[in-house]
Symmetry: C2
Subunit: 161 residues, 2 copies
């Protein structure tokens, strides 16, 4: 209980710090894009580091789907304290991970008034997924979408090399 | 194992982000002070939030020493995955908390070459202690000192009101 709180609070601080810092600079028009990419990049490096520790004693994965399943179960449980509720794929490199109660959104009211704030709080996690996958040899694009708080859908599109 | 890694990596990212961001601004001469206080302030708010969760089901504390003991055992174990090794006090409001293997310093080489980098990595934790104490009604000054990595001494001086 208290463990996840540490990550949640720290994550909140980072988001608010990154947005505050950009707001005091002159490039306010570019603000939104820059903040999101700053957070995404931080998440990327954390994801890379974490997956290295997590998979230290793991057997290797047999295919991409196997990697995604590991991400949805083991990785998600450690970081977000629950598993992904639903994983879907078109078997052509696109994966949709549905989390019905995403831990970084649970502090918000579930009404619609905070819906447009949601992307702020998803950028870090998108980066983390991308970083984790990247260290496992899968390069891709990760986006997130919220239609009802606190449920969240992550879409991963793997780029075939 | 993997849990503490999340906090450690995230902490590393914050420190490097705060320092990088300040370095690109003009006020480079004031850099060090500003970065340390930014990190300290972030830690303060995280400490405040955490202690609220931690003490939700706790009986109240009988005195300042009791609060410090809680901080050294329960709080420290959850955040830093070990207890404080030694707690000393002059019984006049000064406490020295010695951690012989402080988790945020263990990634560094134990030689002397990184010694001057250490304060960067202690500011957040000092703030966290101050925030936790503040929410328990104790206002004070928290400083940290490293003589040999990865051991660290935190000094808390409680201000009598």
């Amino acid at each position: 209980m208290a463990d996840d709180a540490l990550f949640e609070f720290l994550h909140m601080e980072i988001v608010s710090h990154v947005y505050k810092e950009h707001a005091t600079r002159e490039d306010i028009d570019r603000e939104r894009v820059t903040c999101v990419s700053t957070l995404e990049a931080m998440g990327f490096r954390v994801g890379q580091g974490l997956i290295e520790r997590f998979t230290k004693d793991c057997p290797s994965f047999k295919d991409d789907l196997d990697v995604m399943k590991f991400l949805c179960k083991d990785f998600w449980s450690t970081v977000f304290k629950k598993q992904i509720d639903n994983l879907r794929t078109n078997h052509q490199g696109t994966y949709v991970l549905q989390d019905n109660k995403f831990s970084l959104l649970t502090q918000f009211s579930s009404g619609k008034q905070y819906l447009e704030e949601a992307p702020k709080y998803l950028a870090f996690s998108c980066g983390m997924i991308r970083g984790a996958l990247s260290n496992l040899g899968l390069e891709g694009v990760v986006t997130a979408e919220v239609s009802i708080m606190p449920s969240c859908k992550f879409q991963v599109v793997i780029q075939k090399l």
